[in-house]
């Protein structure tokens, strides 16, 4: 549900969370990002950093500078303006994916489970080719970043292209780096080798985390994904994968990133039952 009024909850003595709801929805995520933007535009005294997530904004503050009660009062003054937000800046990022790649299969086999893309095909009653066409057939909205550096969660912007996937019953001990994955309707990503429980979709040859910041795409920091980005996943074959991988390793790959805006209405109009129906272009 989306709460009528945000809930302000303590996370110990240095954080609080402004929670707009407990569910996954773009309207809710828009409020989180809008409040984050308002705090970046006009920082509140004592707030040292903010952490936008799917449904809440984590706020780190110095309790010696501002009390929790005072901070909550200041935040409540900002709250009305975020409930009406309709448009946000949103980068569009193109990410090439080798779907149904051999590393994902090797990882699944090593953990005693079937090819994850074949499992997705079975669960969603379609062929493997249709799984790939469906997943790459809609842009995805990055609604949270975290877990590990550059790990993110993204929701499909065309509800008709939403796949569904269970999490692993027993989480994997390891996952190769640069693997794209899915659980529930959320697409996620393993930037570095890590444990995990999402179903493996494919592997990208490009880096979304580069601690050495060699490519100009990382001029602002070692982590590329940001909450509010939209991703287009482009299926590539083995040859293209290696061509791009060589460019990435040489530091000459040109990341495809466009600065755009996105309107909440473009999403809402695609929801089943919407009077405007689905299928209208999403780009601003």
């Amino acid at each position: 549900m989306i709460y009528a009024e945000a809930q302000y909850k303590p996370l110990g003595d240095l954080y609080l969370t402004v929670e707009f709801g407990d569910e996954l929805s773009l309207a809710l995520n828009f409020r989180v990002i809008a409040l984050d933007g308002a705090l970046k535009a006009r920082p509140l005294r004592g707030v040292t950093e903010t952490i936008p997530t799917n449904r809440s904004l984590g706020i780190v503050y110095d309790p010696f500078t501002v009390s929790r009660q005072e901070l909550v009062a200041r935040l409540k003054e900002l709250e009305p303006q975020v409930h009406t937000i309709e448009e946000l800046p949103s980068r569009h990022v193109t990410i090439p994916i080798w779907y149904d790649d051999p590393w994902s299969l090797e990882c699944a086999t090593a953990h005693g489970v079937p090819n994850n893309v074949e499992l997705l095909a079975e669960i969603n009653a379609m062929t493997v080719a249709e799984v790939i066409r469906t997943h790459s057939g809609t842009d995805h909205w990055v609604s949270a970043v975290g877990f590990t550096p550059a790990c993110y969660q993204a929701m499909p912007l065309d509800p008709s292209k939403a796949l569904t996937a269970p999490k692993y019953q027993r989480p994997r001990r390891w996952t190769p780096e640069r693997i794209l994955c899915i659980a529930g309707q959320l697409t996620s990503f393993y930037p570095i080798a890590s444990p995990g429980g999402y179903q493996l979709l494919g592997r990208t040859p490009i880096e979304l985390y580069d601690p050495r910041q060699r490519n100009p795409a990382f001029a602002d920091g070692p982590v590329l994904p940001r909450v509010g980005d939209r991703h287009t996943y482009v299926p590539i074959d083995e040859t293209t994968y290696w061509d791009i991988r060589r460019e990435v390793e040489a530091g000459v790959y040109e990341y495809q990133i466009r600065e755009e805006t996105y309107r909440l209405q473009d999403y809402l109009s695609r929801l089943p039952g919407s009077s405007e129906g689905r299928g209208r272009g999403a780009r601003a």
Partner: protein, 338 residues
């Protein structure tokens, strides 16, 4: 010229300063010392900047070495002053017991060895001037999982040569400094860790909140700087609406992912609560019953597997007061000279 040479890396020895705040929204943890008090005092003893407060301060202070349990061996290459604080890892200087919680002058060819854990889990070694490794995103703190900070983003290994910045005072003037005896912590077998309940305590059955606060919890051996797992009774959750089963996951502990603070306590599946620590994730999809107060994060960092703790609920105001006490003790007024 290097000041210290690593002869043996031990279980896991990493360079740490107060840490790397400001990047939580990218998934980059703050890292820094598992025991902020111990590193701060070690730095003060050798005349270094102990840095500003964890997570909300701006200055990371001088970098020292965090030593997990045992095995770190160092050879001194240049005359300097060191201080070892935190856990008692039976440190020796040229085979003789090395005094802890005080500054000690060392000379070329001296050898420092951390032999075995007698109490606590992590010792801290500071060197006059602070260890000179490159800054990454404003800090020298090592995060081995993200490959950043310290020496090439990894734990120390034999052959590493550590340089230092120039000491702020003459080496001779730094000798004989010690922590006031009444401030030296005693690390026993039983612990008491204070928490603020929430943000998802309302998802647990009330009996399970009581069980969490009443029982003793044993630290599991599968614990590290990311998270510390505790063994105890199973905790149970209230029934959830269908949309959350679909969106968040089939396990009753699943939530739609939200912020995990440093010190947040996740309870995946209702078993083995995990205190997420300084290298922990900023985002996660399991209900969090409580948050360890920042003044007690160091206690979690000093517990050894097999030791037990209770969790005591306090108000955020009490947590802030405890933090104020802790931070005020990391100051020159806590140091005596002989």
């Amino acid at each position: 010229m290097p000041v210290l040479e690593v002869l043996a890396g031990g279980l896991q020895s990493t360079i740490q300063d107060v840490g790397r705040p400001g990047y939580l929204a990218t998934g980059m943890p703050p890292s820094g010392p598992a025991d902020r008090f111990a590193l701060g005092i070690a730095n003060l003893l050798v005349g270094n900047d102990p840095g500003e407060r964890y997570l909300v301060g701006r200055r990371p202070g001088a970098a020292g070495v965090e030593v997990l349990l045992s095995g770190l061996g160092l050879r001194v290459h240049a005359e300097t002053v060191i201080a070892v604080t935190g856990a008692d890892l039976a440190p020796t200087l040229n085979g003789q017991p090395l005094a802890t919680w005080q500054s000690v002058r060392v000379k070329p060819d001296d050898e420092v060895l951390f032999r075995r854990a007698r109490s606590g889990a992590r010792a801290y070694l500071a060197v006059a001037g602070g260890i000179d490794v490159p800054l990454f995103a404003g800090s020298r703190a090592t995060n081995v999982r993200a490959f950043v900070g310290g020496v090439e983003g990894r734990a120390l290994k034999p052959g590493d040569l550590l340089r230092t910045f120039p000491p702020r005072r003459a080496v001779g003037a730094l000798e004989g400094r010690r922590l006031r005896p009444d401030l030296v912590p005693v690390f026993g077998h039983r612990w008491r860790v204070r928490v603020v309940l929430g943000p998802q305590d309302d998802l647990f059955l009330p009996e399970s909140i009581n069980a969490f606060l009443r029982h003793d919890w044993e630290l599991s051996s599968t614990s590290d700087r990311m998270g510390c797992r505790y063994i105890g009774p199973a905790l149970e959750f209230k029934p959830r609406p269908a949309y959350l089963v679909e969106q968040a996951g089939a396990d009753p502990s699943n939530i739609v992912d939200d912020t995990i603070p440093v010190g947040g306590i996740q309870v995946p599946g209702g078993v083995e609560p995990i205190v997420l620590h300084v290298d922990g994730p900023s985002l996660g999809g399991y209900a969090k019953i409580a948050t360890v107060i920042s003044a007690d994060l160091g206690k979690v960092g000093q517990m050894r597997p097999g030791q037990v703790t209770s969790f005591q609920a306090v108000s955020t105001d009490a947590a802030v007061a405890a933090l104020r006490d802790l931070e005020q003790s990391i100051a020159e007024t806590s140091i005596t000279s002989t």
